[in-house]
């Protein structure tokens, strides 16, 4: 019986130390990467808690931020909240404990950030937010959704005039999100100001996801088969609408689809394929990442930043695609200089 007791003891300790060993393995990888601050000059330390790193959009932001941090010699640490507010707060608390110089947040929920922003303030750490305004943060880095929507609308008005299209529009939106409401508002603003004759046949809620967008667009197109323009608040919404149009057996050559976001393969593929996807409002997520690091650097130097640190947007078409993207192997690499040229500062 004594042997059994010792055996199970050994097994218990052994198994739990295994869990610790997992940490060691993971830790040595992270430690090697991040443990250089002891050497030499004091690097600026920026802690960034992303809300959802599994999404291509945020991966692009992180890549842009990492590139920029590397250029400027800044120690950028990124934690992922994985759409869990409690996790985001814990990660932010841990950054505060590590005494980062600037804390950056992409809130999972802007309303839940109050306590952690106050905590950071008490610790003397300035907070920057990305894509959402949070009270107490020094600035918010991101595009202007309203302006972006308007640019897309203005491009479309021009296109409609050239091609003699009488627009019957289906808008695939996401009414739960303020950002997306603003994109639609901007688009409508441009339409109204244009003086052309147009009709918004229906607005549907695609929840920003392709399958949902497909489903709701199918119903809308059944009710209004004369739709010839689709505007989506992101590329998944637009391509979902396009798929519904095709599934309904309607003539794709009569369709004009305008996307928003243009963050990756979905948008680029659709644009370059020569189909109905004619243009998109590019949000340049990589550049948003650059903006985060630039804003953090400015704040650490004590510069005063505007409440909205605006990152550039532009309408991309097959025609001007090559100005902003260069083909590298089978990937399209962003052309930072051209994008920087868009910024009016």
């Amino acid at each position: 019986m004594m042997e059994e007791l010792t055996m199970s003891k050994i097994r218990t300790i052994g198994s739990l130390v295994l869990a610790g060993a997992l940490m060691v393995l993971a830790g040595t990888q992270a430690f090697a990467a991040g443990g250089q601050e002891q050497k030499g000059e004091k690097k600026l330390v920026v802690g960034y808690v992303v809300n959802f790193m599994s999404h291509e959009w945020y991966q692009n932001i992180c890549n842009g931020a990492k590139d920029r941090a590397g250029e400027l010699g800044i120690d950028l640490r990124i934690a992922d909240a994985n759409l869990d507010v409690a996790k985001q707060i814990s990660a932010a608390e841990n950054f505060i404990t590590q005494k980062v110089d600037v804390l950056v947040l992409t809130p999972v929920d802007a309303k839940a950030m109050g306590p952690i922003v106050r905590q950071a303030e008490k610790a003397g750490i300035p907070v920057i937010t990305e894509s959402n305004v949070v009270e107490g943060a020094k600035t918010y880095v991101g595009i202007s959704n309203q302006t972006g929507g308007r640019k897309a609308g203005e491009w479309f008005v021009q296109y409609a005039k050239e091609k003699g299209i009488e627009p019957k529009i289906l808008i695939v939106g996401l009414p739960n999100f303020e950002d997306c409401r603003q994109r639609v508002a901007g688009f409508k603003e441009a339409l109204a100001a244009s003086g052309i004759k147009y009709e918004i046949k229906q607005e549907v809620d695609g929840q920003g996801l392709k399958e949902k967008a497909l489903a709701v667009s199918q119903d809308a197109l059944t009710a209004h088969p004369d739709v010839n323009v689709i505007f989506g608040i992101n590329d998944d919404s637009t391509t979902g609408g396009m798929a519904a149009y095709k599934a309904a057996g309607l003539d794709e050559s009569k369709l004009t689809a305008i996307g928003f976001g243009f963050e990756g393969a979905v948008g680029q593929g659709a644009l370059l394929s020569g189909g109905p996807y004619k243009a998109a409002l590019a949000m340049f997520p990589n550049f948003v990442g650059v903006g985060i690091v630039d804003a953090a650097l400015a704040i650490s130097k004590g510069e005063k930043l505007p409440a909205h640190f605006e990152t550039p947007t532009t309408v991309i078409t097959a025609a001007n695609f090559n100005t902003f993207y260069t083909k590298s192997g089978d990937k399209n690499v962003m052309n930072y200089e051209s994008i920087r040229g868009l910024m009016k500062k």
Binding site: R11, I13, G27, T28, P115, N176
Partner: protein
């Protein structure tokens, strides 16, 4: 049926056997802490330790309730969804009445109601508790989404935050709450008849019933308490976020169950101590904290957590088989 000898069987001889298990848990926790400190010295700072304790207290408070439910031979998977519903409800009451105490009581009451529902499903409707609480988990989450339209509710009274972020001396309020509740229920579980009844029901429910214990009533009481604890944890979380989030607590129930099993509570019931469960929760809490401090990608967190859960269930099986062998030997 001498209740005293039954108590002895569940309290003392098992206690001796299990204290060996607890020692190994404490050692494992110490080893983890040492490794963490070596890898990232900031782990051992008082700020970080308070962070770990505060972050673990969310699981610990709900864990006190879960320990009793599992000791009884049942389980409650709805605690995660309760985090969402009670969080949303108490913030709503807070905004409607402007009173923090009222919001707290309201949340507690809703938790108790959820517990009652679970208890009745398990005892009166005689539905297996895994299935029953799986169902209530989905229903409660659904109610949280429906009632809010999937949009979070912001707390309009800033002082509400203090429940989650405030301090009493050097200790975060949630940690103080955890310690007080732990002390109370340690006493109840190990030094009162009620505690012995819980162990008895978990050990052998038929023998317990034949001994004259009101098994159904006790189960309902424990379920009500379990959800009340989950409700307290929910409100601490809502205070930390100063908002009620309808998607709070996703996966929370698995974390609580894993922590509790890691700490020595057997899934079949009747075996385990509150202290052991606590150490199990601390181990998971330290693991979570260290993974973030070391800047490990969150994708690894999932792997680590899954590995610990599998480890916990494996250890549980091994412990049960060892225990059976010892009990058989003891009766020979």
């Amino acid at each position: 049926m001498n209740k005293k000898s039954e108590g002895k069987r569940n309290g003392f001889s098992l206690g001796e056997l299990l204290s060996g298990e607890q020692a190994s848990l404490v050692i494992a926790l110490a080893v983890l802490c040492i490794i963490a400190t070596i890898l990232t010295p900031v782990f051992l700072t008082s700020t970080n330790i308070m962070n770990v304790l505060r972050q673990t207290s969310l699981i610990a408070i709900a864990g006190i309730g879960m320990v009793q439910i599992i000791l009884m031979g049942e389980i409650d998977l709805s605690v995660g969804s309760t985090q969402a519903l009670v969080g949303v409800f108490s913030v709503w009451v807070l905004n409607a009445t402007g009173s923090i105490p009222l919001a707290f009581v309201a949340g507690l009451a809703l938790g108790a109601l959820v517990g009652l529902m679970n208890g009745l499903l398990v005892t009166k409707a005689k539905i297996n508790s895994l299935i029953a609480t799986l169902g209530t988990m989905a229903i409660i989450r659904g109610v949280a989404f429906v009632s809010t339209g999937a949009v979070s509710i912001q707390a309009k009274i800033v002082e509400f935050e203090t429940l989650g972020t405030g301090y009493i001396g050097p200790f975060p309020i949630p940690v103080v709450m955890t310690l007080i509740l732990f002390a109370i229920f340690y006493y109840i579980l190990h030094h009162t008849a009620f505690g012995r009844y819980i162990y008895a029901i978990g050990g052998n429910v038929n023998a317990a019933r034949l001994s004259g214990l009101p098994v159904e009533r006790l189960k309902i009481i424990v379920y009500v308490m379990g959800s009340a604890f989950a409700a307290i944890s929910a409100m601490v979380l809502a205070a930390r976020m100063s908002s009620g989030q309808p998607n709070a607590g996703l996966g929370f129930e698995l974390q609580v169950v894993a922590a509790v099993i890691l700490g020595g509570i057997s899934l079949t019931g009747g075996v385990g101590t509150l202290t052991g469960a606590f150490i199990g929760m601390l181990i998971l809490g330290v693991l979570n904290n260290a993974l973030i401090l070391l800047n490990v990608s969150s994708f690894y967190h999932e792997i680590a957590r899954g590995a610990v859960i599998i480890l916990a269930v494996y250890l549980d099986g091994t412990r049960r088989r060892n225990l059976q062998k010892k009990l058989i030997k003891a009766t020979e």
